[in-house]
Symmetry: C2
């Protein structure tokens, strides 16, 4: 394990059927004023909202609401939430929803008492909070982002066409507790389930496909990928399969809580390109990733043939006998493509609303990171986008 | 992922060369009175003691010491430590050593303010603490037990010939922080390094070889085992290889911090039998496990042929083509045996001081657990011990 690092994830996870019953036991640790944060309102149709509100009232909490947190939470929504949370003198922010809602709650937690403009401070200057921050709890209804156990928060500024993630440094920004009931994820439409699954898979790839090969993190990453492929194939045909969906939910958490990036430089370029597509189209996050992945990985493969060969053999079961490294590596990416088609993932950014004339703008707003095997320049990003049309 | 579970590991891990420099930053969180706990004194020869004491003094701490914590910490040593910690009005217990010292510190943390006899309360009745408990920090010098990030503490009562582990339920019993500098582990003799490696490997097996097959925990377990085999083979020939030793240290932590037991019933019979051997012989923990493992696993294999087949293929690289499940499974255990010999592990309990006439007594004091594929009765335990002679 190269380098020096810390690892600290204090989030308490409650996993399994009916796990929301543990929410009541967490509440006494916080003050009376709770801000309940959610998305479009599906939780009002599936009973989750009612369960949570009942528990909050039984716990003697005063509840204010921030509804309508959209899938790519915007900076305007953040400002709106800051007003609500300040007026309510919030003691606890409770996110009930998917990764967007949980991310939003964390962005809010560092913004409520922030005297500066949070977009500029946290998302343009990438500074850490110096103000008081609020505790966050999460009742997760969608598996994919890992937000429930990390300190990341992605916010979109549609006016600037920027979608930026800040992984806050202090573990206090991580949710204090998260309720993970796989049953809550079973009502998702197939499109969202598949997008979440690909988000998980790509999170793992973003950490795996970077230098310092062969350390413990790589082996853990391979384990998570293999578990995900196993479960995703079952879930793809049988969305209500609890065993498969629960394993997917657990895998999602561990794919992006910093464990498998320990000792790794990490890539994140698929996310940078995908987020840029997302900022221009408002498309579903997981699908922005799937649509650009194959072109990206085929582009960087020559810079890391041994690792792509290993990926092919260990994750995709490619038989390397009698083949060159390049052949094995290509077979691995072909196997990944076949799985992506099987899962119904979007493989063309045109389907997400990208038109040729948007490519330059998308490439311009793509942050170029240096942790992967090869950092593309803007021209390479444009080529990858063109190939992804 | 079957069942309901919680996961909460708040320990902050500082990993890498020179990681002890982070100790100073932790100290202000605790009161002035620190009890420094260590073993035989090797830390006074390799500079670690001096580094730590310097940091404690720079931090303005009053330091009392509990030296001489033996490899299988005894209940008498625990009582001695309680007196010292009480007299010192300890605010923080700082373990500097291997798993024995860290375990001991945790046992002490729940005993200092305990009004009852801690051996009876925690180790015979398995009750949880109701008294105030003290925070524990750890500077780890040996990789193997995972004690640095879990709530377990094994104590031996030589008079009663009992060696019992209690995994405390509350995550507050886990160390608040642990310093993991792989360089600290490089001075270990080969015997201790190999014993630690086998302890890690068997920890993983104890969780892997139980029902609920094929969940995320199984895949993570396989990743950890494969990483460990890779690194152990390097370290076996080149003990100073930092990359290999650092991966072993990181793997040890993740092998026994509850992650890979989520959704698993877990076995632990190799540890029960090995600990009983240890209570009668005071032998090195990892060697008590290696000496009884092959007989145990060959005994339970028929009850879980598919899992042992998977183990053979996924962990040992056995080619299953044209073979029955039983053949593949046996080949896997043979491959494990070959690796154990390569590592110089003890494979006979007679070498640890067991004589035939002790077998009945050892079997009598073996706790029989029900989480594995098959719970042996006392006669089966005797048979396993006889076969392990």
């Amino acid at each position: 394990m190269e380098g020096n690092f810390t690892y600290c994830n204090p989030t308490k996870l409650y996993f399994g059927r009916g796990a929301v019953r543990f929410l009541g036991g967490e509440l006494p640790k916080y003050g009376k004023n709770v801000v309940l944060i959610y998305g479009g309102g599906s939780i009002k149709k599936n009973g989750i909202y009612d369960s949570v509100v009942k528990i909050l009232h039984e716990g003697g909490k005063n509840v204010a609401e921030i509804a309508g947190v959209m899938p790519n939470p915007t900076v305007e929504k953040l400002y709106e939430g800051v007003k609500i949370a300040r007026a309510h003198k919030a003691d606890l922010l409770l996110a009930v929803g998917g990764g967007s809602v949980c991310d939003y709650a964390k962005a809010l937690s560092v913004s409520v008492h922030c005297k500066e403009d949070p977009w500029e401070k946290y998302y343009l200057r990438f500074e850490e909070p110096t103000c008081e921050t609020l505790p966050v709890g999460c009742v997760l209804t969608m598996a994919g982002t890992g937000s429930e156990m990390n300190a990341g928060a992605v916010i979109t500024n549609p006016a600037q066409k920027l979608k930026i993630g800040h992984v806050f440094a202090d573990e206090k920004i991580m949710p204090k507790f998260s309720v993970l009931d796989p049953v809550y994820t079973l009502t998702l439409p197939h499109y969202q389930m598949a997008a979440g699954i690909y988000d998980i898979f790509n999170h793992i790839c973003e950490q795996y496909f970077s230098g310092e090969d062969d350390n413990t993190s790589d082996y853990l990453a391979e384990g998570l990928m293999r578990s995900l492929l196993h479960s995703s194939r079952i879930a793809n045909k049988d969305m209500q399969n609890y065993e498969a969906r629960s394993n997917i939910m657990w895998t999602a958490t561990w794919a992006l809580n910093t464990l498998i990036s320990r000792g790794k430089s990490t890539d994140w370029m698929v996310h940078m390109i995908g987020q840029a597509v997302g900022a221009h189209t408002d498309a579903t996050h997981g699908m922005t990733l799937s649509a650009v992945s194959l072109a990206y990985y085929r582009h960087v493969m020559p810079y890391a043939l041994p690792k792509f060969r290993r990926f092919a053999v260990q994750v995709w079961g490619v038989d390397p006998a009698g083949k060159t490294d390049a052949q094995v590596a290509e077979e691995g990416l072909s196997a990944m493509e076949a799985w992506m088609r099987e899962m119904g993932l979007v493989l063309h950014i045109a389907e997400l609303g990208v038109r040729e004339e948007m490519i330059d703008g998308i490439a311009e707003s793509t942050l170029l990171l240096e942790g992967g095997y090869h950092t593309p320049d803007k021209n390479e990003v444009k080529a990858i986008l063109k190939e992804s049309m």
